[in-house]
Amino acid sequence: MPEKVYIGPYRPQLVEPERFELLVEGDKIIDAKMELGYMHRGIEKLFTTRTYMQNLALAERICGICSGIHTLCYAQTVERLMGVEVPERAKYLRCIYMELERLHSHYLWFGILAHSLHEHEAFAKIMGEREIIQDLFEYLTGNRINYAINTIGGVRRDITPEKAEKIRGVLRTLKPLSDYIMSLLDDNGVFTKKTKGVGVLPRDKAIEVGAVGPTLRGSGVASDIRKDDPYAAYDKLDFEVIVEKDGDVHAKALVRARETYESMKIIEQALDNLPPGDISVKPGEPKVGEEVGRVEAPRGELIYYIRSNGTNIPERVKVRTPSYANNFAILEMLKGERLGNARTVIESIDPCFACTDRVTVVDVRTGKRRIIALR
């Protein structure tokens, strides 16, 4: 007799509260449903009540982890509406800031993975050493998170030679952290044992549900907006799109781990080739019309649609976040999975403490509830 299992919504989570309803037979998940909206803040409506400039801070607060990339995608879309050409230097600076963000976001993801796998030592090490990027952001931009660095027409703070040196130093200390994570993912690694074969998302399913980012690349699809539709200075920088074909949580982890090296490579190149000049230009007037912009956020393709009526307040802003696209992948990955792996699967998409060690099981026939440990 199948049972219904509920996970969430309010468990001490890192990211959004979400609610999952799983249909379970024995230890096996046979169907999964999800309910969102616990974090709904009405942001798209709010966008249409403030000026293009003011909306930068709002875009930044859609997500507190990949906040910078939201402002970049928003700014680039507005720049197109305004017909503004951003200075070369600003384009390179944008790449540097955004790859630093990808680094801290990917490391955070590993921290959360370690936490959900009960690898406390790895959790402490990754979270602790990741701090150095947060410090760097504070030094470069004035804040650890929500760095308010992008503006319409460029960036707000420059990277001096002295700052560049500091960034290089940070990258040097981060390489061993990436090596360490790689070692957790090799044949004898502690992550490998617990993630290999778990939550498999086959290639065709990944495409069918519209997965993006590392979730998609972990299923063997080479899709990366930085390459497919280059923005900022990505067309001038050399890097590889990382693909793994197994589709399991292990593959997704490997994609992210290998991407950290690519991000470092991008930052080093951008620092080496940083063109001289201004870091921003004055924004113009928006034309009447609409624009779509997209970028590769740490979790995948992020899309902004903006419609303008020519005033300084947008008429409509629509945001499609990568996690939203990937949520449908979670449901696919959960089906057929062991209940004990549910948490790992859910967290493999998004850094999310969505559920904790216990879930409520409702016996469909009797309606009786009992609490079980997820692992």
Partner: protein
């Protein structure tokens, strides 16, 4: 030391605050050294930490969680969303701030507050001292912390309020004075106000320990005198702003108007209402004619 068990409840923020609370657990910040543990069930907690502005969908859950927290049931709101709703203020699903729904004892302003701010605040609440070197507390240059308004420089123009991304700055006109009030509990610390200020009067500083038990106290203000109209006597404009504007005109923009400094000043001191009266329009016209004549002369 009393054992403190914290349960975190997040309802509609951007998550950054929540990440920073988690960050406090790493050895560098040593939340655990203060005898604080983070638990995963409200029944096991005696302290509730809130982040986020509070949504309609999460209301019931918040009330339930609050009920379950054990005495002394201390509630701490971390981050500006949970203090004033911050930038999400006018969002239609937002019903907070949380202190409208449950009693809140302490507030830690920031967007997000840095981990040092959170652990210092918790230590202060517990009445313990954290032994750390200055290096640990230090902020880098250019850090965006609490504002400071230089009373000498501020001309009361309100440009900061206009650009503000979070409606944090109020411009309050009294009978004689104008108050520029920065509610930093309602602020994203974006520093747009600092960039926009024409006189570099407002500045974000390295001050970040902002723990308070009264959210209304989270503000910085400056007062400027309003000018009274030379005709009707009503106040209408900050005195300093007019002086600043005039100085810019005669010293930077069009130095040839210098001779007319006093005439221009006198006409600027007439309020918009009086300016529209027939007899005064005449006077303004004479001034304008003089100025354009002056402009034509080499």
């Amino acid at each position: 030391m009393a054992k403190i068990s914290v349960y975190r409840f997040l309802s509609a923020g951007c998550n950054a605050c929540d990440v920073e609370i988690l960050e406090c657990l790493v050895p560098r910040y040593g939340l655990a050294n203060l005898g604080v543990e983070v638990v995963e069930e409200p029944e096991k907690a005696n302290v509730l930490i809130l982040t986020g502005a509070g949504t309609i969908k999460g209301e019931k859950a918040l009330l339930e969680v609050y009920e379950k927290i054990n005495p002394p049931k201390i509630v701490v709101a971390v981050g500006n969303c949970s203090i004033t709703k911050n930038i999400f203020d006018k969002g239609y699903p937002i019903i907070g701030p949380p202190n409208k729904l449950i009693p809140v004892n302490y507030y830690i302003p920031g967007c997000p507050p840095r981990p040092q701010a959170i652990i210092k605040a918790i230590a202060d609440i517990l009445g313990v001292k954290i032994e750390e070197k200055e290096e640990f507390w230090k902020t880098p240059e250019g850090f965006r912390g609490r504002h400071e308004i230089d009373g000498e420089k501020c001309i009361g123009c309100g440009a900061c309020a206009q650009i503000c991304t979070a409606d944090a700055i109020e411009v309050i006109d009294g009978p004689e004075k104008r108050i520029i009030r920065v509610n930093y509990g309602h602020c994203t610390f974006c520093a747009f106000c600092q960039d926009e200020c024409p006189t570099q009067a407002i500045r974000l500083t390295g001050v970040y320990h902002l723990l308070t038990s009264d959210p209304r106290a989270a503000r910085v203000e400056n007062e400027v005198n309003l000018l009274s109209c030379t005709i009707c006597g009503g106040t209408f404009f900050p005195e300093k702003q007019i002086e600043w504007a005039l100085k810019r005109v005669v010293e930077e923009k069009v130095p040839i108007y210098k001779d007319y400094h006093d005439n221009i000043y006198n006409s600027m001191r007439i309020c918009p209402n009086c300016r529209r009266k027939i007899e005064n329009i005449k006077r303004a016209k004479i001034l304008l004619t003089n100025l354009s004549e002056r402009a034509r002369r080499p």
